[in-house]
Amino acid sequence: MRGFLRDRLVLVWLVLIGATLFSTGIGGTTGLARSGDGAAVTAAVLAIAFGKVAAVIFNYMDIRRAPGALKILWGAWLAVVLTVLMGIYRTGL
């Protein structure tokens, strides 16, 4: 069991589940942070979602062991899409 919990793939899954529970807790119309700043909650929810996607791409798709160019490409793609989505949300474009 301890060996299982030391497995990187399992640890990544635990982090993904923890991040999911946290963002579900703070987000949405029944979120724990409902009385707070909706923009800040949304920024956190989107940032956590893209962090989770990065974890899946780098660990489960094994991009962490891919050539540097592919790692940079994925990192840049995630950063650009997150920035564009945040920008549309904040400015109401």
């Binding site: 963002s23 987000g27 409902r34 996607v53 791409i57 489960y60 798709m61 050539p67 474009l93």
Partner: protein, 190 residues
């Protein structure tokens, strides 16, 4: 001169990455459109979002994250020639996919029962459009997982075959990654 391991290796077939980049970019355009229209009707989108069950969205996210774990473990078991463990792990991933599909069908049913359809408003147009498009990918991915469960019952060290198996795994992880963003946008954005 750097060794091959330092330079890294591209997982799966090169073509799968073109597909994955393309698919994720198309979905991202839809995500951007969703937020654009949300900005024009924040109260309407918020009221519609309140019609959804966050618990169902959360449970479905757990199903897909867990299926991704099983598939990642399965691909590793395939590399290690574990012809008993690998198919079982793909089947475990497939079981999580089936749970996702059943729960999504239940969610659609509860919405339809309340008279909510794709034509109800812009929010639900996006909700049904995005989730149905994603569900199509889940169904295709489930077929891929079933094929991998069958294929990995016999050991093979042929690199081409392994690249195909790894590509199938990457496709499934893409399905999981897309859902992570869909869940955040449809259920959690305030």
């Amino acid at each position: 001169m750097r060794s091959k391991s330092t330079l890294g290796r591209v997982p799966g077939e090169a073509g799968i990455w073109i597909l994955i980049f393309g698919e994720m970019s198309v979905f991202s355009a839809l995500f951007a459109a969703f937020l654009y229209y949300r900005g024009r009707d924040v109260s309407g989108f918020t009221a519609s979002q309140a019609q959804l069950s966050k618990a169902i969205g959360l449970l479905n996210t757990v199903f897909l994250l867990t299926s991704s774990l099983f598939v990642a473990l399965a691909v590793r078991a395939t590399v290690r020639m574990r012809t008993i463990a690998a198919p079982r792990l793909y089947i475990a991933g497939l079981t999580c996919a089936a749970a996702f599909i059943l729960l999504k069908a239940f969610e659609y049913y509860t919405l339809f029962a309340r008279g909510i359809t794709v034509g109800s408003n812009t929010y639900f147009g996006f909700y049904f459009g995005l989730t149905a498009l994603h569900l199509g990918h889940v169904l295709i991915g489930s077929g891929v997982l079933l094929a991998l469960a069958i294929a990995t019952r016999t050991p093979s060290s042929e690199p081409k075959r392994f690249a195909l198996i790894e590509s199938g795994g990457c496709f499934w992880h893409m399905v999981d990654a897309l859902w992570i963003i869909i869940f955040a946008l449809l259920y959690l954005v305030e």
